[in-house]
Subunit: 491 residues, 2 copies
């Protein structure tokens, strides 16, 4: 299966595109920039959703659902917000088709024109805050802690499967609070949830930080983010949490009577992660043999392949393996027993390897006689023969070990690719030759940020939250700076 | 809370609308026909999704995701299909907004007109079968058993929250098979899954049947359905499963090489249920005190309310109740302990009663001294005092009893409202005065069906699957008939 598969070293971008297709994760559709997420890819997304949904509920959030379509006038109400999204909006203008009287097929019925155009949501702040106005009168109605799992649409000119698609799936949290402190706490709490998820489930190390003004979410006072590093040295923004201040409550006139009897504007946050995380997962761990999925998110954690000739041998192997399958499942381990007789073991080995199943067990007649079983781990591509009777506990521990190993491996790579530089020449050479994050002093102006971007294609990924104060000089302008920020080329 | 609440007898339709709002299930949005599903309503929908998703996976299906937008030309390809959906399509014509140079706000950018208009999916057969063409070459690629959880849009002129909305949430299964027999088996299997779900989880008795040609899904050869009866005597179609034959595979040219080497068209099914089920749930069980939710779908199955004065008493009651809460949760029972001190017990009682929580436990100081606890059941609005020590097993059994009672109650009502008639006068009188299902002979023609509909507003809900053959005469035309069919006024 790994034949005709481009290696990372030859062409990372081609490797990625081929992997997505060959591992049966997703494909482009005929609709520009919109993808089809195939069952195997979707099952990984379902694993992600399951964990995140539990985390959101454990931090007190409930799910709800708001309309797909947003009146154009809502979007226009908040100036920064509309500036950020107007250029990529899919617009519904009509609500009916009719038979084409002068030819084949159907045409848009010109008589079914909407009075006001509707926008397919690029994000839901406007329609949600317009709704919250009716829900909030008193401090007793606060906080509102809501999340929505939904599809959104941003008409992107250059699309890339999972990473930048016109339609994508995501969750968007939208919360309302009585005080600024509570809203800031919520913003940071959800950033921590995202970092926890990225590191402990996706096995992707992330840096928590704050975006510069230039990179902020349109309408936010502060955008917090987690930034990951891909194997090609490019950074990827994996999740954002926005402190929206009172911008949307002012725009949509959402006030509450506080305990002191005063009418005050509500404080807001929003936060989201999307199917883009699938791209982050792939580009963090996978290799020239295909996808690598961390055990905690793997739809199949262990595949068991019997190696047999004829039904009798299969029966014998199945009898031996059944209690193991049962015991693993009782421990909550997701096991697939692949006894298909229309495919050879070699084909199955290649398939599961390419699809990144963490552990493969294989049992043949000789293993049976010797009381052994073969265990192969996907992350290191090693295999060993172990006593059959120890297989359950071995697998249980190995899954944890693989999870940890993937994280440590990705973290070592990431740490190795944070380079401190103190001059613009050094900066440019590092961005060009080594890649990764470059830690450098910056004078704090958007003008400098944009010039560096123009000259090097590197952007400021974030100002890390746990950043030591350090006196220095901006690499471009030489102006004074109080801390380093992280630059990188990014997805 | 039940104050200012219309009773069912006074105005069923008004009762329904008020209940949806007052129980915090959903509300209409400013976007015509699109609803906001509020957290409590959405949590019931999540319960439904959880059960159905498990059932789909147990019958071998996987989830996937296909694009929201469908090129207009795809929709036009299958003649019946486009006839069925063209009149209610939301159409995307542009992909960008721009600042209004002659005024405020933003306008649609005329230069960003799409070459081909895109339709927001009213259902996904066309885009999915266009995709399946690339997935199916050989009989080894079959069957494909896929489900999608998604939002869809049908521009309805008269909308009703949950029952008929322009945007709704649903699941749509789309399967591909090598033989007609397999596809028919799948169609019926999924109908059985829906009936199982309706009866054993929603506690809503349903009749399984086949639609007449006139009521078929646009593009289907046979539409199977489950039909339920609401408390006002109107029927509600709660789920449909379609045998699509080879229509979509022919339209989208999806062929496979069979074992005999011949190229053949693939056989198809599709099946779906939607947020309409929320309406069915409400109108089956709820009463003049508000919502009634069957225990197996209730987000909160048991609410526990301590009745106390001051923190000391609350502490004492909490100490006593904590082990009970733990024990119930260990049995997988969903418990809410409501110790809010800014609301009085009476307010809480009214709230949970209105929201249909199956069991309410209340514990006060006197109960504590007597070793008792008060148990109230929502379905029958009765309460009793039981020994505190028996509360866990009592609750466990009572949840089952309530589940069964709701089903039996709904079934008795439904069975009471299936009336056999043998003349058109009897038919008209029954439809007008009693309502419910009317079982009558019909000559099998669409003309007769439509005339009866025009004259009485009753439609043929289905030809029941388990229908005895019986020689008779059509109530309208007197022509010979071999079996009775079920008529009703319907949602």
């Amino acid at each position: 299966m790994a034949k005709d598969f481009t290696t990372r070293a030859v062409d990372f971008s081609k490797w990625y595109n081929e992997l997505v297709i060959k591992a049966d994760l997703a494909q482009n559709s005929d609709v520009r920039g919109c993808m089809v997420i195939k069952p195997y890819g979707y099952s990984i997304w379902e694993s992600m959703q399951g964990v995140l949904d539990r985390m959101f509920k454990e931090t007190g959030h409930s799910n709800a659902y708001f309309p797909l379509l947003i009146p154009k006038s809502y979007l226009s109400k908040e100036a920064d917000h509309v500036d950020g999204f107007a250029k990529e909006c899919a617009v519904v203008t009509h609500y009916r088709l009719k038979n084409n009287e002068e030819g084949d097929g159907v045409i848009v019925d010109p008589e079914a024109k909407l009075d006001e155009e509707l926008i397919i949501r690029p994000t839901s702040e406007t329609i949600i805050w317009n709704t919250y106005r009716g829900w909030i009168q008193s401090h007793r109605d606060l906080p509102i802690l809501i999340n929505q799992w939904a599809n959104v649409m941003r008409w992107e000119m250059r699309t890339r499967i999972f990473l930048r698609t016109s339609e994508f799936l995501w969750q968007e949290g939208h919360t309302a609070h009585a005080t600024k402190e509570e809203a800031v706490f919520e913003t940071k709490q959800m950033l921590d949830v995202y970092a926890d998820f990225a590191e402990n489930y996706m096995a992707v190390p992330v840096i928590k930080g704050v975006k510069t003004e230039n990179e902020r979410f349109p309408g936010a006072l502060d955008t917090y983010c987690i930034e990951a590093l891909m194997q090609d040295g490019k950074a990827l923004q994996a999740g954002t949490s926005h402190f929206l201040g009172q911008k949307f409550s002012e725009t949509f006139d959402v006030k509450f009577a506080d305990k002191d009897g005063q009418l005050k504007y509500v404080w807001a946050t929003s936060w989201g992660v999307s199917t883009r995380l699938m791209g982050a997962l792939i580009m963090s761990h996978s290799d020239d043999e295909g996808l690598v999925v961390p055990p905690r998110l793997a739809p199949i954690q262990v595949v068991i392949i019997p190696i047999y000739k004829g039904e009798d041998q299969l029966g014998e192997l199945t009898d031996k393996l059944s209690p193991v399958i049962r015991a693993l499942r009782e421990k909550g381990i997701r096991v697939k027993f692949d006894n298909r007789d229309n495919q050879r073991p070699g084909f199955k080995f290649a398939q599961y390897e390419f699809q990144g199943v963490p552990i493969r067990l294989a049992l043949g007649k000789r293993d049976l006689e010797n009381g052994n079983i073969e265990v192969a781990r996907r992350d290191e591509k090693t295999k060993e023969v172990i006593p059959f009777d120890s297989v359950v506990s071995h697998v249980e521990h190995l899954l944890e070990e693989i999870q940890m190993n993937l994280f440590q491996r990705a973290k070592a790579f990431r740490d190795d690719h944070i380079t401190e530089v103190n001059s613009y020449d050094e900066f440019k050479a590092t961005i060009k030759n080594k890649g990764g994050f470059v830690s450098a002093h910056w004078d704090g102006t958007t003008a400098t940020e944009l010039r560096i971007k123009e000259e090097t294609a590197a952007t400021i990924r974030c100002i890390p939250i746990e950043n030591p104060e350090e006196v220095g000089q901006c690499i471009l302008t030489g102006k004074p700076s109080k801390q380093r920020v992280l630059f990188a080329k990014a997805y």
